[in-house]
């Protein structure tokens, strides 16, 4: 057992701690220190750091607030009121988070792009509507697309918290004659406040870390955030500057989350006792149908519209213009010099097919690696008695949640671009993608691992211990089969996270290991919108399909759905 824990601890150190330490260390070399100075205290700082950091914080705050408001309101409607179509609203509201964030941003671009930066324009402009710049570019669309993406997460968190509130507590409130508003302010809200705060912090951190939305909707008009600056610096070879920006980004995103978990952890309202009873839902009266309409409109627009927009625009001859007619060229067409500089349709393009293969392979490899690691972490945390070691494992397995994907990618470059002891430099190999993916998805996988292992009672194992089984034997014969079901769903979700990821892989990918999301991103930045949209549609389809499968495996992921 001690050996296993030590092994897991060592792997986590290598996976999570070492790249971070290395990242910081590089910024403390003479070159690194010069980069600090350039970034923070030179005439470049204004553009390199201060403006991006203001933008970044503004995006984080707006996304945290917006996503929390929207998600909580929808969760309240679905869980506690008699709004018609609750189930459908609940299902739709959980979709946007499954979509890659670059899908939402590309869909926004396909709809709202205007002529400001030249090139093609979006659907609305082509239909004759003048789209103002502030809707097409910059902070407004970035915040809007990120809210679309993350309200879905807030919804899930708050809905789960609301569903866990003992109905008696609300009925006891109703017995006093308090109005609905009073009940909500005096009882419901304080009870779910920890979840709401956690959701808001997560929304903030995600808004701060996100790369795809500002890259697609901000970069063309020189709207920068920390993550786009970081990407820019590294991709033009100013690696140290990139590392410095990574450290700053990690500090900004991580600090608040860390504070938040501290705050949230202090007072959690465990349900006191006894069985809860069935709760009479809040009657909305004449607001029932308007509320239903509004909720369905929001969820429909955010869950369905991006996918449909992308799919439709991938069949348009000219980007964003119905007038130009429809074509299947961007999917199936052979190379022809008149269209798209001779690029064939994505299903005939060997590069895209190669990317599809690598992406699926990477998703599968990371899913396996992360799941195995997750179970091992869960097992150590549940069974090991070495206090400091379990503490270390718990902290390290949680740490990546504080790390923006693009910054983690930078840390991996810092660590693995050179030979590491006996290991050859991993940069440019498939292996580094797998390792980085495993580190990135570790918090999720180990949480799933903990939950799964917690269901295997110690008794079962002790029974086999009495029978003389060794640890590996027990693990394989008792633990593994019992956690398999839960972990299968987790593996599927890890797979999805990787397949739709852009920010982590963007810096790590090289032409020998192309990935769908990165290829789509490149196409989009080069103006080949239909290809980008077609590939993104495929990624969306895979993400939604596999997530749906995983949910079926889990069944219990949405407890609030069974609450009637």
């Amino acid at each position: 057992m001690a050996l296993l824990s030590a092994g897991v601890g060592a792997i986590l150190c290598l996976l999570v701690l070492a790249p971070l330490v290395r990242l910081v260390a590089v910024t403390l070399t003479p070159d690194g220190l010069r980069a600090w100075q350039e970034v923070a205290a030179s005439e470049l700082s204004r553009n390199l750091l201060w403006r991006p950091i203001v933008n970044t914080l503004a995006i984080g705050l707006a996304v945290g607030a917006g996503a929390t408001l929207l998600g909580s309101a929808l969760a309240w409607l679905v869980v506690l009121t008699d709004v018609p179509g609750r189930r459908l609203i609940g299902v739709l509201a959980s979709v946007p988070f499954i979509l890659p964030s670059f899908a939402v941003a590309l869909a926004w671009e396909a709809a709202f792009r205007n002529g400001r930066v030249g090139g093609h324009v979006g659907l609305l402009q082509n239909l004759g509507l003048a789209v103002p710049d502030w809707i097409a570019w910059g902070i407004v669309p970035v915040v809007a697309t990120l809210i679309v993406h993350y309200y879905s997460l807030t919804f899930a968190l708050v809905a789960a918290a609301l569903a866990a509130v003992n109905a008696d507590l609300l009925e006891a409130g109703a017995m006093t004659g308090a109005s609905q508003a009073r009940l909500m302010g005096g009882i419901t809200l304080p009870l779910v406040l920890p979840a709401v705060v956690a959701a808001a912090l997560l929304g903030f951190a995600e808004g701060v870390s996100n790369f795809a939305a500002p890259a697609i909707l901000g970069l063309p008009v020189r709207f920068h955030t920390l993550s786009t600056r970081l990407f820019g610096a590294i991709s033009i070879g100013q690696v140290e500057r990139g590392y410095v920006l990574s450290v700053i980004l990690i500090a900004v995103a991580g600090a608040l989350l860390l504070v938040g978990t501290r705050l949230g952890g202090r007072r959690s309202f465990a349900v006191i006792t006894g069985k809860g009873s069935r709760y009479a839902r809040v009657r909305l009266g004449r607001w029932r149908w308007p509320a239903c309409g509004a909720a369905l409109a929001i969820c429909g627009l955010t869950a369905v519209a991006p996918g449909v927009t992308l799919l439709a625009s991938s069949f348009l001859h000219q980007p964003g213009a119905f007038a130009g007619g429809w074509t299947t060229h961007y999917w199936l067409g052979p190379s022809s010099p008149e269209i798209a500089q001779g690029q064939p349709g994505i299903l005939r393009n060997p590069q895209v097919l190669h990317a599809a293969g690598t992406t699926l392979g990477l998703g599968a490899a990371v899913a396996v690696a992360a799941t195995v690691l997750g179970v091992a972490v869960g097992y150590c945390l549940a069974r090991s008695r070495v206090r400091w070691l379990t503490g270390l494992i718990a902290q390290l397995s949680y740490l990546p949640i504080l790390l923006p994907g693009i910054a983690l990618g930078a840390a991996f470059i810092a660590q693995f671009a050179r030979p590491l002891g006996p290991l050859p430099p991993l940069y440019g190999t498939f292996a580094i993608l797998v390792v980085a993916g495993a580190a990135y998805t570790l918090p999720f996988a180990s949480q799933a691992g903990r939950a799964a292992v917690a269901q295997v009672s110690t008794d079962l194992e002790e029974a086999s211990l009495m029978a003389g089984a060794t640890l590996p034997r027990r693990f394989v014969a008792i633990v593994a089969p019992l956690v398999a079901r839960g972990m299968l769903a987790a593996a599927a979700l890890v797979f999805v996270k990787i397949v739709r990821d852009l920010s982590l892989m963007l810096l790590l990918m090289t032409p020998t290991t192309p990935l769908l999301s990165v290829v789509a991103f490149r196409y989009a930045s080069e103006g080949f919108v239909q290809f980008a949209n077609a590939i993104t549609t495929v990624v969306v389809a895979i993400s939604v399909g596999v997530t749906w499968l995983a949910r079926r495996l889990q069944r219990s992921t949405q407890p609030w759905m069974d609450h009637d």
Binding site: L169, A172, A174, M175, L191, T273, G274
Partner: protein
């Protein structure tokens, strides 16, 4: 005659296909302590929630203090707070984010009491329940028994005319339960509020009640003071449900002017005609235990012998019917032994109808 504090008329509550409450009529006199007693799922909680106003009746009417608070026919539905009733939840339902003081005070705030009145009243109920020291604590920082007291204090604070309790003691351990029973009686005397109390524990019912209503499958089988319920159970179900141990009800068929249970000749059938069925009640204490067969003796197999304050309760099987007997001495018998139970000359009472209850084979 004074007007009942609570009147219930032909009350029905249907959930989908289930009739949780199926035609309940009830009069509760002012100041009474009515206990609703019945097996799990018989609709006790639903009746209580209907009284509280947390559930709307499908049909029927409820009047509290002479005022109609719910009526299926007229569509009247007075909201919970307008009924002058307080409910103590089985789960206590203490708001975990408020202190003990806050929990008790909040309903008064909602009812717009002045701050001075509020704080005086909170102090008063805290001392009534002897929990003055706990006022600053959160619910998660006090014991189960203390939470129970806080829940009661919170319900009492707005001075409800009617107190409703849903199995309030079921989460407490045996010793605390006895203590809290005494406490509840004291509070009932102190407040004089008409109380309706749900339980499936008949000891609790008999200890607390001025009136017991025995429920089964959404209906009330009998309402009477506890002693009467024990002395003259109105239906075979009540007879077999109430009492420690409960009575034995035996299905008998009339043959040649006598009641027969299988091949046992029980008693003269009186005026009952040939071939009819009756359900005969034999109290455990009327049954004697014998070693040999004889007239009115039933051959049984002993399932268990439970010594109880100088007596022994014998649970026996006759085929698939269970018979309980009490003997006035401590007997030593092994389970599995064959015994003969001697029935008295005449049953305690007989019922023409067992209300679809299978009273034995």
């Amino acid at each position: 005659m004074t007007e009942p504090a609570i009147e219930v008329r032909k009350l029905w509550k249907r959930f989908g296909q289930v009739d949780a409450v199926a035609g309940v009529d009830l009069d509760v006199p002012p100041g009474a302590f009515l206990v609703l007693l019945g097996p799990s799922g018989c609709g006790k909680t639903t009746v209580l929630r209907l009284l509280a106003g947390l559930e709307e009746p499908t049909t029927g009417e409820i009047r509290i203090g002479g005022r109609t608070v719910a009526s299926g026919a007229q569509g009247t539905m007075v909201p919970p707070a307008g009924r002058g009733a307080g409910l103590v939840f089985q789960s206590y339902a203490l708001w975990p984010h408020m202190t003990v003081w806050g929990n008790i005070e909040w309903p008064l705030k909602v009812a717009r009491w002045s701050p001075a009145d509020r704080s005086a009243r909170v102090r008063e109920v805290l001392s009534l329940l002897s929990i003055e020291d706990l006022e600053g604590r959160y619910p998660s920082e006090i014991s189960g028994g203390q939470q129970q007291r806080v829940a009661i204090a919170r319900t009492l604070a707005p001075r409800p005319r009617v107190l409703l309790f849903d199995e309030p003691l079921s989460n407490l351990d045996a010793k605390l339960r006895v203590e809290m029973r005494a406490e509840l009686l004291r509070i009932h005397r102190a407040t004089g509020a008409t109380s309706v109390y749900v339980t499936h524990d008949q000891i609790e019912a008999l200890a607390l009640a001025t009136h017991v209503a025995v429920m089964r499958e959404g209906r009330i089988e009998q309402v009477a003071p506890p002693a009467d319920i024990l002395a003259t159970p109105a239906t075979p179900f009540v007879a077999t449900f109430v009492g420690t141990p409960p009575g034995n009800v035996v299905p008998a068929v009339v043959h040649e002017g006598r009641f027969w249970w299988h091949d046992v000749d029980l008693a003269p059938a009186g005026g009952v005609s040939e071939g009819e069925r009756r359900w005969l009640l034999y109290r455990p204490e009327q049954i004697s235990v014998c070693a040999e067969p004889g007239p009115r003796r039933v051959q049984v197999t002993l399932a268990e012998a439970l010594p109880l304050v100088g007596r022994t309760v014998l649970t026996c099987w006759h085929g698939s019917s269970r018979i309980t007997a009490v003997v006035d001495r401590v007997v030593r018998l092994d389970p599995g032994a064959t015994l003969y139970l001697g029935l008295p000359d005449a049953p305690a009472t007989s019922y023409a109808d067992n209300g679809s209850q299978a009273g034995g084979a």
